[in-house]
């Protein structure tokens, strides 16, 4: 863990996460909160292909499809699973502090 990184609460565990993810902005960054099989995951919310928010797209099982050109990313790892995308999606470590869902965020 980098000394510059901090854990930032982004949602509460008792807030329902919409089926296709929840858009969260942290320090100007677009992040997406997803649940897959009861676990929370946070990724960048911006497609690595062209600008589009993944939370405007569609979650199927453990993948999210970009609404723009159907680039498909694996939510837990950010890996590309289909579509015209070549670059993986950034993922962020998540931890639960009491009722807070926190994401490890590098301020740098």
């Amino acid at each position: 863990m980098s000394s510059k990184s901090i854990w930032i609460p982004i949602a509460r565990t008792d807030d329902p996460v919409p089926r296709h993810g929840k858009a969260v902005e942290v320090q100007g960054e677009h992040l997406a909160l997803f649940t897959v099989e009861g676990r929370f995951y946070v990724t960048s919310n911006v497609c690595t292909h062209q600008f589009a928010l993944l939370t405007d797209g569609y979650v199927e099982d453990d993948c999210v499809d970009c609404p723009m050109h159907q680039g498909r990313f694996h939510i837990p790892t950010g890996e590309v699973r289909g579509g015209p995308v070549s670059k993986c999606l950034r993922t962020y470590p998540v931890r639960i502090d009491g009722n807070d869902i926190c994401v490890e965020f590098s301020a740098a």
């Binding site: 062209q50 569609y58 970009c66 609404p67 723009m68 050109h69 159907q70 680039g71 579509g83 015209p84």
Partner: protein, 382 residues
Amino acid sequence: MSASEETAARIEASAATVRQPLARASHVPYRLYSDPAVLALEKERLFMKDWLAVGRVEQIPNTGDHLTLDVFDEPVVIARNAKGEINAFSNFCLHRGAEISRKGIGNVTEFTCPYHNWLYDLDGNLVGAPHMRDTEGFEVHKCRLPRVRVDTWGGFIFINFDVTAPPLAEFVSVFAKEFSFLRMEDCAIGAQVEFNLGCNWKFVVENLFDVYHVTTIHAGTFGKYRDTVDYFTDAPGQASLFGYYKSAPSMDSGKSLFGHMPWLADKPDTFACSGFQGPNIQMFGRCDGVIVHTIWPIAPDRTRMKSYLLFPRSFFDDPDFQQKADKYADYLKKIIDEDEAAITSLQRAANSRLFHPGRMAKLEHGVYNVLNYYLDRIVPRH
């Protein structure tokens, strides 16, 4: 009788003036050069059936390089994919028809329609479309832009809009057999010039094969170097449009700035040849390079000529190569400028009710041959 059949019948009647021995021939009625219905028939019977040279392979050497063109109102993209293959497809989005690629030469990793962001790969396949999930029966991966046939010969990229046309290799076989010794595939574009001429495309084609005007209009340029002889033959078919004669490298001084093409080392400095490949390619070979003109009708009285000045790739190592190649281009511009005033005045004669085309001179053998070749394609002889 349909409108196009009526036009064909009128052309056939006009053809009579050149469908006889040269010594008895006259120029054809100028309605053939001014009537929009004639151009429409030429489009259907020539340009939409034949292979058309639209560029050179060295213009798009890398993955994602592409040419974006309008060919007879058909917007076309020619792109090289990651496998190195060249594909041609329509330049309109499958959704509303917006252009997906801007005119000219460029490089992209994919084509994004600027209107609604539909995305295409370098082969013209639709790979993504925003917010179409609720559109029933729409499957992105089953959609592709209409393909246009594409192939290459002599370093040129040819396209064809007719799915039933014979392969390019067959189409160019006679020309290829005659002129393979020029090795145009081992040349590259040293310079390119585009001319916009205010006359019918056939006036341009005829002019390039007209020996008769060379010592008058071009007295101050290449007329000095070229022998005024009829070098065209009465050979059947396309061979009647091939010729060999004596001239000089296409330079003011009549002297090459580069020396001979390596594969023409045994030819004299005065070596000159010319050839026609229908519908619109005219080639002029010299000891030191090849100039290829492609002639494109824009309107009955407007023509665009794209000229490629080709030189062997080894010449490109010359540190002054571009400066020298540009001199060849300047000289070509000077020559076509000399022609322009005359051939555009022909177009004005076409609009006069008092003008009746005159008799042909023996030195117009090339004009006579190319006119007959063209007419036989538009209105075949019975």
